[in-house]
């Protein structure tokens, strides 16, 4: 792969890396005929980010430069720290960098980032490739009942009312209002913590569609990171979400050159302790009793994995993957794998189609040296199912 990023867009790439760095420690890069995808996943597997840069983002784009086999782009994983080191200070980058070249060096197995800066200075970073695989997550974006499009300022303004020590936020969406509350874990001493609640009106947003009243809770750290990202690039934010427990998808795009999806897993909030409406003490005591008995039950994870849905997708996309027999085996292994994973952790996770987890498919052994061996794992695209109007992802037949 080899591509050139013109000066103005380098800042977008820098902001992307900084945002992704708040999500995960490893950066996955994949080059496809018409775009480049950057992805990351956090350690707890509860937050995923994917940013797609279309061909027109680049001034020169050759996705399989150096490839020995045709149609094979680059799939690799690099350390997030290395990526951050390359794009050190985004504010600076805007003023200094004229051009960026990203290319793969097949000999040394390194990804080379070369920044041509003002005054004739050239900065080159030789980044080691940690592994050669791709990573993708399954999530629904378009068939969700609840969609809000908002200028990011509204949300970041609302968030400024929360304490920096708050780490999760609950969003309660109805057709009349959107209420944001800081989420308090049952285990924290209530006498020490401030509870904050903000009510936003639908009229404040660019578009507000709540098909089903929902309450979702997700992590503030990643939410703040994605808000910072949309603020830096001065772009609005779209929220797509459905019922409690299903991941919420946040989208930032500029309509033409890039699109970013941030997917955060959600949990069911503990209702009794969350509401700030003043309650009659008797009622309160009763409610508390109820929640304490339900406490253990609530902690049990929700298995929102819709297995049949996955299978449909798979069969649909099997058509373009080479080795049908092996893929069937792989898929069932994968599914059982993901079910097991969900049971381990109370928080619901996004289904993770991690190519590397596929066991025992002999030809699929990818090693660092064999960058160009075809990745035999299925790399289906979840979004093609719903007839989503997306320019990209024309990999499906």
């Amino acid at each position: 792969m080899k591509c050139h990023v013109p000066g103005a867009n380098v800042k977008v790439l820098a902001r992307t890396v900084h945002a992704l760095a708040r999500f995960g420690d490893e950066l996955y890069l994949e080059s496809l005929p018409d775009c480049i995808l950057l992805r990351t996943l956090n350690a707890a597997e509860s937050a995923y980010a994917m940013v797609k840069f279309n061909k027109n983002f680049f001034s020169y784009f050759n996705y399989n430069f150096y490839s020995t086999e045709d149609n094979e782009g680059l799939k690799c994983k690099i350390s997030m720290k290395s990526a951050l080191n390359t794009f050190k200070s985004p504010a600076h980058i805007e003023k200094q960098v004229e051009n960026l070249e990203i290319k793969l060096d097949p000999e040394s197995c390194k990804l080379i980032f070369q920044l041509k800066c003002r005054h004739g200075i050239v900065k080159t970073h030789f980044v080691s490739i940690l592994d050669c695989k791709a990573m993708q997550a399954v999530y629904t974006k378009d068939s969700v009942p609840n969609r809000i499009s908002s200028p990011q300022r509204i949300l970041s303004d609302a968030l400024s009312n929360f304490q920096s020590s708050d780490d999760q936020v609950t969003l309660e969406a109805t057709s009349h209002s959107l209420i944001l509350r800081n989420y308090i874990d049952c285990s924290i001493d209530l006498t020490k913590v401030i509870r904050t609640q903000i009510s936003l009106k639908p009229a404040e947003f660019d578009s507000y569609l709540i098909g089903a009243d929902t309450t979702i809770t997700f992590s503030l750290k990643e939410f703040r990171a994605l808000l910072t990202f949309s603020e830096a690039l001065n772009l609005p934010l779209q929220l797509h979400f459905e019922t409690t427990g299903r991941p919420a998808v946040f989208i930032v795009h500029n309509g033409t050159t890039f699109e970013a999806h941030f997917v955060l897993a959600t949990t069911k909030p503990d209702n009794a302790s969350q509401t700030t409406a003043t309650q009659n003490t008797n009622v309160e005591r009763n409610k508390r009793k109820d929640t304490s008995t339900l406490g253990s039950a609530k902690k049990k994870p929700h298995l929102e994995t819709d297995i049949s849905k996955c299978l449909d997708e798979d069969s649909h996309l099997f058509n373009f993957v080479d080795m049908p027999g092996e893929n069937e085996i792989n898929l069932s292994n994968k599914l059982s794998g993901s079910i097991i994973k969900d049971n381990v952790n109370g928080k619901d996770r996004i289904d993770l189609m991690d190519c590397d987890n596929i066991p025992a498919s002999p030809a699929a052994r990818t090693m660092i040296k064999s960058v160009f061996k075809r990745c035999f794992e299925s790399t289906f695209d979840p979004r093609s199912i719903q007839g989503a109007v997306l320019a990209e992802n024309s990999d499906s037949d």
Binding site: S82, N85, H92, H119, G120, I121, T124
Partner: protein, 257 residues
């Protein structure tokens, strides 16, 4: 002097050790700080920066003083304030006396007595026999920008100088990666460059980084490498009134194992 502000900034720039050797020479004041045997930094204030400057020339006026205390005292009215400064030193064993008066307020003044000690001798790092193999003159803010960009966790700063393109190349090694900054002599950042034959020198990154505070207040930096690897960085600070102050850093290279 009318304003001790610049002097204070200069002292802060070399303040990476507790004490400094204060020398009052006929030409001006020089304060020197040493870290181990690897880095030696000096601040030099030529006498024309002072409105009045009297030094005995029959003896070496030299003593050891806490540079931290000295810069706090110089800054006693805050960095936003220009204060006039008077310094007095009677002789061996006497404290250094400072009198400061802020320009904007008439009813306040501060006097300080800072205790002094006998100075240890200053290590002479310069080797008269080693010749200069390369010289690079750069604009200080530009060089600061480059240094700031280098990943702090790297240990080694490798400098490659050569008459061929690219003339100046700084390489740093991370855990698994390598980063390289190339600066051709044609760049606007380079004011002059001379190098006879290619040379590669290695230094500890954190020693090189110790010049950053001084770079931030200077206008120009001259980098000289001698054949024994010793690097001398000379930084010039030009004030509004055209007077100049200087800081100097000698850095010892890493020896190859």
């Amino acid at each position: 002097m009318d304003s001790g502000k610049t002097l204070c900034s200069l002292l802060k720039a070399i303040q990476f050790q507790e004490s400094a050797v204060f020398c009052a020479l006929p030409e001006g004041l020089k304060l020197t700080v040493e870290e181990g045997k690897c880095v030696q930094a000096s601040a030099y204030v030529p006498s024309d920066n002072f409105t009045e400057y009297h030094v005995r020339d029959d003896v070496d006026v030299m003593f050891k003083i806490s540079i931290a205390v000295l810069s706090e005292c110089l800054n006693i009215f805050g960095s936003g304030e220009e204060s006039s400064l008077k310094m007095y030193y009677r002789g061996e064993g006497s404290p250094l006396l400072l009198v400061l008066q802020p320009q904007s307020m008439y009813n306040v003044m501060t006097d300080c007595e800072i205790s002094t000690q006998t100075a240890d001798s200053v290590l002479e790092l310069r080797d008269e026999d080693a010749e200069e193999v390369a010289k690079l003159v750069l604009k200080a803010p530009a060089f600061l920008g480059l240094l700031a960009d280098i990943e702090r966790s790297c240990e080694v700063f490798e400098l490659n100088l050569s008459p061929e393109h690219p003339n100046v190349s700084i390489v740093t090694y991370g855990m698994q990666d390598r980063s390289c900054i190339d600066m051709p002599k044609s760049s606007d950042m380079v004011q002059s460059f001379s190098c006879e034959s290619p040379v590669t020198l290695r230094y500890q990154l954190h020693h090189i980084r110790s010049i950053m505070k001084a770079l931030a207040i200077s206008t120009k930096v001259v980098l000289r490498c001698s054949s024994n690897g010793l690097m001398l960085l000379q930084l010039k600070l030009e004030k509004e009134d055209q007077r100049q102050m200087f800081s100097e850093f000698y850095i010892v290279p890493l020896l190859d194992d």
